[in-house]
């Protein structure tokens, strides 16, 4: 008899943004995430309730999955941000901070839900339009002829993650490595569609960060190899390579649930071993020098191959397979029954032994031009190393995004303050018509603009965590920080440079605190004079998308009027 379980009725919440519990939770989330923001952000430790591994981080992609809430409203925002991070790697905290600030301020402003949504959407399109213009004042064109800007971009990403605990020198070293690895993965002369190569990261614990390095080709861990590789075999020309993706352990696991009928007297084990040795013989005949297998190789086969002077490496793992295929040009062999086709063989130019602490690695050099490289990352302890690994992956992704759009945005909060000033100025000029177009009153329009701009500025101000004050200059609308221990005097000596390092303070400059009202002005662009190079840059593609995701998610949050939770 079928058992019928009755569904229990759902839990309902009316007008979630008016709900105290939800508002508190959102406020908490905003404080949690903004406190991690930027190079001086505070670190968070993630423990689970049964002890064990502790993660120290300030990265949104690590932090957000750890924040679990029973409140679907909070999860809605979390998921949006995480989806952005999974696509673009960078600007997750920016998106979260902006989204939550916008939601909170729009609610406090008392604007009607749909009016606020319409205004946000309109202002977002103004922002996006401005950022995509060629004369945008907070955009920098990237010049691939020099690595200067790429280095700055990489350094900004790496230095924005304080949980890596890096010195200035180490940050510089890593940014150099990141740019080097990125350049190695861009193929030089391949006609037609360009396929980017990849960087394989090998973490090594217990070494100075300065020992980290980038190598062309692949590094394979052979620490467990039972015999020393003779130096003689390492330097012959173009080693013929075979790559197996099937297990060569001689087991029958791949058959699944099938039934094997064995004739009386037949020994399946020895027959399979014979089959394996058959492969071995063919490999020897074809003069293969390097024998690679994703899975396990039967010891007898290993022994046989080695006795023939072949270098055998097993248990490569899934992740190394694709780079190996790309680099060597070998076709992975999945079946054991057929003779190996000649075109399945690949090539490796030479092998070099590398030692990293207790790890012994074998470097496989690519036979020709290849876009595969390996980055060995060293750090003093496991926690910092795991954060460093995440950061390096992000940096690689951010650098790759520059290929899609060779621009970067000014960092250090300058883009946010500049955008806010631009929006204030722009929205003032056609207030009456735009308000009519959007179907709201002019008062509502000004209120909505103020909410939007203040939210943007609050994100810039969130970069400062040590009690300093955020200011904006009234010519370029860049972001300045007045440290807490400096006397409140507007003197030239108080500020050196703005957040991104493009503008230097001068006696003629005027500033105002970020959260004060200032008369709107059209922010001047600096791109004409290239006397200064920006010191902090953000990824254009990632930030633009983050801006869009943040505003859209805030709009979504403002649009939710009812929550129904299925509690079954």
């Amino acid at each position: 008899m079928a058992r019928l379980v009755r569904k229990s009725p759902s839990l309902c919440t009316d007008l979630p943004l008016d709900n105290d519990d939800i508002s508190t939770k959102l406020n908490l989330l905003r404080k949690l995430l903004t406190s991690c923001f930027g190079p001086t952000g505070k670190l968070k430790q993630v423990h689970n309730n049964v002890g064990g591994h502790v993660v120290t981080t300030s990265t949104s992609s690590v932090l957000l999955p750890a924040v679990s809430s029973s409140q679907p409203f909070v999860n809605l925002i979390k998921t949006s941000i995480l989806n952005h991070v999974s696509r673009f790697s960078d600007c997750g905290l920016f998106a979260a901070a902006l989204c939550l600030a916008l939601t909170e301020r729009a609610k406090q402003s008392g604007l009607g839900g749909n009016v606020a949504i319409g205004l946000n959407q309109h202002l977002l399109s103004l922002c996006v339009g401005y950022l995509q213009r060629d004369d945008c004042g907070c955009k920098v064109k990237l010049d691939f002829c020099s690595s200067q800007n790429l280095m700055t971009l990489a350094r900004s990403v790496i230095s924005s993650k304080p949980a890596c605990v890096l010195t200035e020198q180490e940050t510089l070293h890593l940014s150099r490595l990141a740019v080097q690895a990125f350049l190695l993965t861009v193929p030089c002369d391949s006609p037609g569609t360009v396929t980017l190569g990849r960087t394989v990261t090998v973490p090594v614990e217990g070494h100075s960060v300065l020992n980290s390095a980038v190598f062309p080709g692949l590094l394979v861990d052979i620490t467990d190899a039972i015999y020393p590789i003779k130096a003689g075999t390492l330097n012959s020309n173009l080693l013929c390579t075979v790559l197996f993706s099937a297990s060569l352990a001689g087991d029958l696991s791949e058959l699944g649930d099938g039934i094997i009928e064995v004739h009386d007297g037949a020994d399946p084990d020895s027959q399979i071993l014979d089959q394996l040795l058959e492969i071995g013989k063919q490999v020897v005949k074809d003069e293969v020098k390097l024998f690679l297998c994703q899975k396990v190789i039967h010891p007898v086969l290993q022994q046989y191959l080695r006795s023939q002077g072949i270098i055998v490496i097993e248990r490569l793992g899934m992740s190394l397979m694709e780079p190996l295929i790309q680099m060597t040009g070998a076709q992975p062999v999945a079946a054991l029954h057929t003779t190996l086709p000649v075109k399945a063989y690949g090539k490796v130019r030479e092998l070099t032994l590398r030692q990293f602490g207790s790890k012994t690695m074998l470097q496989l050099h690519p036979p020709g031009e290849s876009a595969i490289c390996t980055m060995v990352l060293c750090h003093r302890n496991e926690t910092m190393l795991s954060e460093l690994k995440v950061v390096c992956l992000k940096t690689e992704h951010v650098l790759r995004l520059t290929l899609r759009e060779p621009s970067a945005l000014l960092g250090g909060g300058c883009t946010e303050t500049h955008l806010a000033a631009y929006i204030r100025h722009k929205s003032m000029s056609k207030a009456a018509e735009t308000a009519l177009e959007l179907g709201c009153s002019q008062t509502e329009y000004h209120l909505g603009t103020e909410v939007f701009c203040r939210s943007l500025e609050s994100v810039a101000a969130a970069l400062e965590h040590n009690g300093g004050n955020s200011l904006i200059d009234l010519t370029h609308a860049h972001h300045w920080i007045l440290p807490a221990d400096v006397m409140r005097e507007y003197g030239e000596e108080s500020f050196g440079f703005c957040g991104c390092g493009l503008v230097e303070s001068s006696p003629s400059k005027r500033w105002t605190y970020l959260n004060t009202n200032y008369t709107e002005f059209s922010p001047e662009s600096l791109c004409g004079n290239a006397t200064q190079q920006p010191r902090v840059l953000d990824s254009f593609v990632a930030k633009l998308n983050a801006l869009q995701v943040a505003v859209e998610t805030a709009n979504l949050a403002l649009d939710v009027r009812y929550i129904i939770q299925d509690v079954n």
Partner: protein
């Protein structure tokens, strides 16, 4: 207590509670509803049906209402929120009348029973009135003020200017999406849907067939992609097979099969099942691409588009199983690779689902609009031709409660015409229906009641005393209600509205005909009863009366 006597008040309270939920996402001021499934997955929707089913109501009558709404919305794709609104307002009005005159007969032993009897009687009358008169009333009182959106115009004319927001179909879709997705994205999605409909060029010009095709194959015709802003949604030519390519290599057992494929010149092989890497084999040697694990939806669409028959037995392969692909390339959507329709982007999975559902319902709504091949009801020989009740396929009317205001006027007008001859007792029914209809526009303009009165008076001022002198306008420029078109509220389908009204009255009747509820006892009952109490406290924010 296993037997509950039917109590009119309970029904009213139940439906009013449902109305309170639905109102949150009704009309231009409405927002969205966030809900979580029992799996923990979150989902957003403005769809009335989704909201109501997600409540998992305990009350048997409430469940009955939800079931009626669900049935109506699967049939027409539209109007589930208006359904509840109308039902609640009808019930409230019936309640007022029944309370006023419960002593229709003295055979009932309690006041409640008498009330219930009056209500039942009224509901029956309403349905009868609707079935008999409504079609002609709509045809005479509403249709002349709408116009016909011709499908042929849509498929040919707008091809050159896909971004203009002028065509009726586009407006119709746009206002539909407005009620479903909020107004920020309705234009974008309606543009996409229009272009989807236009680009699927069909040999037959019959709109209902084309729409039916999209309706049937929608799962395979769209691809949800998360993590991008919604504005990245776009239309892609060709079919997206949601699988990665596998380049596979060799084995003996399949060689024969592949040889025969090769002899037929096959270079791409589609299969529905997962192939084990070792057993699949030699396709790569034969320079053949294999796409495996194709979902049934996609495969069936492919079969339809290409006119092939799928291979079921590997030993017999004929040329009939082979299709020619004009192109086949990978497209990169986020982290997934696809072979190469409609790509829907959204920040989260819940949203892309919402868009997909909304588009599917829109197609269903269009199907209802065009599917009706002119229902002719009032064709008695003595009536003059202009009075024949016909709701033409594709007939639309400006949205924003215009339908209800016009129909309200038509009913009242009709009543005056009739009441000169007939007795006054019949009056109550059409009057009741007419008043109930007005609650819809009242709710639409709930934030600004003055606005509602302005619109109503503007429309009524325009209405001529004898509507039959008007010709049926076919062009948009001829919309007579010029005051309304200024509002730019979009369009809605007349036949959908008509179907909705009938569905509501049918639901009302079956609801009021219930006289006793028998609860069969199960062990689970006690537990869920307790939970029911908890949640009803949450829902019944404003239990009327």
């Amino acid at each position: 207590k296993s037997v509950q006597h039917f109590c009119f008040k309970h029904v009213l309270q139940t439906v009013c509670a449902l109305e309170a939920v639905v109102l949150r996402s009704f009309g231009p001021q409405g927002g969205q509803v966030l809900f979580t499934r029992d799996t923990g997955q979150a989902m957003l929707s403005c769809s009335g049906t989704h909201i109501l089913t997600a409540l998992h109501l305990e009350h048997p009558l409430a469940r009955m209402v939800v079931e009626c709404v669900r049935k109506h919305s699967t049939a027409t794709g539209d109007g589930s929120k208006t359904f509840i609104l109308l039902l609640a307002s009808l019930l409230r009005m019936i309640h007022t009348i029944a309370c006023k005159e419960p002593n229709v007969s003295h055979t009932y032993n309690s006041r409640e029973a008498a009330e219930a009897a009056t209500a039942r009687h009224l509901a029956d009358k309403l349905l009868v009135f609707a079935l008999e008169e409504m079609n002609s009333l709509v045809a005479k009182g509403v249709v002349p003020y709408g116009y016909c959106v011709l499908w042929e115009d849509f498929t040919t004319e707008t091809q050159s200017l896909p971004h203009t927001n002028n065509h009726g179909v586009q407006k119709l879709l746009s206002s539909f999406f407005h009620t479903r997705l909020g107004y920020t994205h309705c234009d974008l999605i309606s543009n996409l849907t229009c272009r989807l409909l236009q680009q699927l060029k069909f040999n037959n010009d019959q709109p209902s067939l084309a729409l039916q095709f999209v309706n049937d194959n929608f799962p395979a015709l769209h691809t949800p992609v998360t993590g991008f802003p919604i504005s990245c949604s776009r239309l892609i030519e060709g079919q997206v097979i949601h699988r990665d390519f596998f380049s596979v290599w060799s084995e003996r057992s399949l060689e024969c099969f592949l040889e025969s494929l090769q002899s037929l010149g096959v270079s791409v092989l589609f299969c529905a099942l997962k192939q084990s890497p070792a057993a699949l084999a030699s396709a790569a040697q034969a320079e053949m691409c294999v796409v495996e694990c194709i979902s049934e939806d996609e495969l069936s669409l492919f079969v339809k588009l290409s006119g092939t028959t799928p291979v079921s037995d590997c030993s017999t392969i004929e040329p009939a199983n082979i299709a020619t692909l004009t192109f086949c390339h990978r497209i990169l959507l986020g982290v997934h690779r696809y072979d190469n329709v409609l790509v829907l982007c959204g920040p989260g999975e819940g949203q892309t689902d919402q868009y997909a559902c909304a588009i599917q319902d829109a197609i269903c709504m269009m199907l209802t609009t065009y599917g009706q091949s002119g229902k002719t009801v009032d064709t008695s020989s003595n009536s003059p031709p202009y009075q024949r009740g016909r709701i033409l396929p594709g007939c639309v009317i400006p949205a924003g409660g215009i339908f209800e205001i016009l129909l309200n006027h038509a009913i009242l007008h009709h009543r005056h015409a009739v009441s000169e001859s007939a007795d006054i007792g019949i009056d109550a029914v059409p009057q009741l229906l007419a008043n109930a209809l007005l609650t819809v526009p009242q709710q639409i303009y709930s934030n600004n009641l003055r606005h509602f009165l302005q619109i109503q008076s503007r429309i009524l001022r325009y209405l001529p005393n004898q509507s039959h002198t008007l010709h049926f306008p076919y062009k948009e420029e001829e919309i007579p209600v010029e005051g309304v078109s200024m509002l730019d509220t979009g369009l809605e389908s007349v036949s959908c509205k008509y179907e909705l009204l009938l569905a509501v009255l049918q639901c009302l009747r079956s609801l009021l005909r219930v006289d006793m509820v028998l609860c069969t006892q199960t062990a689970l009952h006690a537990r869920s009863q307790r939970l029911a109490n908890i949640s009803w406290e949450g829902t019944e924010d404003e239990p009327d009366d």
